[in-house]
Symmetry: C2
Subunit: 440 residues, 2 copies
């Protein structure tokens, strides 16, 4: 069964334009190294501030940020939307605007640009930039499109029928909480919650089962009116870009509260997103065929483009850094190494399904892919899957079934394809803080 | 079992102030009739416009609307927040602000007010007012706190264990969709959706099972920071006011998509809310003891105030008006007549539970109570419950298992208590329009 999901035709490279040319170099030297997440082929968008300045839009290039608001004021880019304190205005203008901006910024930062001196003065060292949420989240929907995640988590509930009944017919999803989405780096507080212990007694107190879920964030461009579904032919153009998302999960609470209306407080403690949005344009060289589906998707969730280009080849990792590891100067320990292209449903099908009842998806809305687990042992993308085979032993000798106070979870992502310059997603990080004293 | 839920201590009237005085009359004559929803003891808040004017805040009084923005400009009320085009700014200021505004407006509209002539010039006939959403919905969470609704709908899934496992331990809820909330009067389009037919074949097309759910809308005042739970002692003050809410439901889609993550497209087609928010202050005389809970709620969901005053005595009705009934000049036919005070969990427990994990509830957030069903036959508050005993036969001879194209669903609500002037909620209406042709 897993084999049929992973079966694909040959992966062709999507059409590229000059902004993807592997020979293109930037006059920002740090963007030309093989280690950087942010070569000139990437140009992800974010919102940043520096000490004493207001948040504004920027582009990551090597180890610097180009101030787009200042670049507009200097006449170097022409999209007034980048002068806002969030990317919402640009997202509202749709994909044509972000593609045109990409072309302008790529030319500006390429070696030999006549405006190099002017633009160089508008660079901010990334170490001096404080990152903000790319946009205020208006709506957040979280999907569950990993076959292997469903298989492993479903076996606990029903060993005979682990997959949700509708899993092969539609991208399963639930509405999640917009107000608690936070940018990478903001702490997460161990929540209180209620659950039933195995002996049947009720418990209310700090969770004993805090988990991460390694997910892809999908940011929406443009708006459809309520009552106007987005067909598959138009769905790809509703995707502004991608980032990393940690869907912090409270497993004891979640398991107790879920039947029949789904997760609620188990998911609304906090959701962390990476600050840089890798645009759909930047990811064109990493488009690969969608997994073969069995049975075939119904027509409203199918398109030739989706079959040939609907998936994205992005390697995603999760690692843990405990307080002791940090004190001993150690690197984060790898927990998960997985591949976004393995998801059973693509981002375009999420958009088409979500709007198929006429629901209005708004610019700046956030979709989560759900836990990006694959069939390999190392591709278990949350501790609930990992600890099914026992606790993790860390290089310090510490063991983990769940996240402990002081632990930091670090996500990274990197798009890779033959003949293309790899591009990265930066990081999505968060440290778990101890529970508060319950208010009197 | 039902008896224990409905057992209460004697229902005392909550403390009232002068604004609740049954002897108080308005110089607006239509506010002094026994039929009006909007006597001077009510003073609900909403957002309205008239032909060629912008949306602004108003108060309903009899068959008129007092323009609060103009009243501020004339120096008749002192809260600048009412000059906004939504109630969000007033909601953000918390309950003290809305209580002070109520006292001002009550004095202004009472017989003998020295400012009567000035205020009279600021009245707009309600028939000329177009109503808008009270505020942009930032987050919408929908609860399920009716014992009788859970019992009836759960029996279909599991006759032996119809209640959700956590039902008696916490107010069960799910995140719902904010972008598709609309004000009363806006049409609802029969949605397309996917489900599995009884013969096992998959179906995608216009739903064959469109339903209403008669719910109470609960509007949130003030904000709590992420990570800062609202204890029961502070929860009542986070409730700005109440309205009617139709949680339009797509039953074939919902049943197919729900396991295990809960409802998604079955609930995001549209949600209708009544335009007038009856404030928590106005409802003080209608506070009654919460139902006795068995087992007792855990301490974080319990308070003396909640036990004595946490429930609200509001009679709620749903009626249907088919196209043929409309053509024949008939009145809407009563489908549901139910009582909000019967809910197993109160609005204060919803706030305390929702924030118990640190989730930030924001001013303008919307909570739905879930279907307000009671034990009586007429208190079945959705067609999925009603049609368990067969189709409804209407006075025209038409029958209904589900809502048909052209049918209008009409909700009304009225708070009643001994010795108090009854106050109404106005209406929440919506007509079901035919499905669109699926986009090519």
């Amino acid at each position: 069964m897993i084999d049929s999901i992973r079966e694909r035709t040959e992966r062709p490279l999507a059409q590229r334009d000059a902004t993807h040319d592997p020979a293109r170099k930037s006059w920002v030297a740090s963007a030309n190294t093989s280690e950087t997440d942010f070569p000139i082929q990437n140009l992800p968008l974010g919102v940043f501030s520096t000490d004493g300045t207001d948040p504004r839009c920027g582009v990551a290039i090597g180890d610097a940020v180009l101030d787009l608001s200042a670049a507009f004021a200097a006449g170097l880019v022409t999209h007034r939307a980048v002068t806002e304190s969030s990317l919402a205005a640009l997202m509202a203008q749709g994909r044509a605007a972000s593609a045109a901006l990409r072309a302008e910024v790529s030319a500006l930062l390429t070696q030999g640009s006549p405006a190099q001196a002017q633009a160089d003065a508008l660079l901010v060292p990334m170490a001096a930039a404080r990152m903000h949420l790319p946009a205020t989240i208006r709506n957040f929907s979280d999907f569950m499109v990993s076959y292997d995640h469903c298989l492993r988590s479903g076996r606990r509930r029903d060993p005979e029928n682990p997959l949700p009944p509708a899993f092969r017919q539609l991208p399963v999803a639930y509405h999640s909480r917009a107000s608690s989405v936070r940018v990478s780096g903001e702490a997460v507080i161990r929540p209180h919650g209620q659950w039933r212990r195995q002996d049947g007694t009720m418990q209310f107190g700090p969770t004993e089962a805090m988990d991460y879920e390694l997910e892809m964030a999908i940011w929406i461009a443009g708006d459809n009116a309520l009552g106007a579904p987005v067909p598959m032919s138009a769905a790809p153009d509703r995707i502004f870009g991608y980032g990393l998302l940690n869907d912090w999960s409270v497993r004891d609470v979640q398991r107790w509260e879920m039947p029949p209306l789904g997760p609620f407080l188990g998911k609304s403690v906090s959701t962390s997103v990476s600050p840089w949005i890798v645009t759909a344009e930047a990811l064109a060289p990493f488009e690969v065929p969608a997994p073969v589906q069995d049975p075939p998707a119904l027509p409203h969730l199918d398109s030739p483009w989706n079959r040939s280009n609907g998936a994205l080849s992005v390697r995603m990792t999760a690692a843990i850094l405990t307080a002791r590891m940090r004190a001993e100067g150690m690197e984060p320990f790898l927990l998960t190494d997985t591949q976004f292209a393995d998801m059973y449903w693509t981002a375009a099908t999420m958009v088409a399904h979500h709007t198929s009842n006429g629901c209005n998806l708004l610019s700046g809305d956030l979709l989560g892919s759900g836990t990006v687990s694959g069939p390999e042992e190392i591709a278990r993308a949350c501790l609930a899957e990992i600890n099914q085979t026992g606790a993790v032993t860390l290089p310090t000798g510490e063991t983990r079934r769940w996240i402990e106070d002081g632990d930091e979870i670090v996500f990274r992502g990197r798009a890779e394809a033959p003949g293309a310059v790899p591009i990265g997603f930066g990081e999505c990080r968060g440290v778990l803080q101890p529970a508060i004293a319950w208010p009197a």
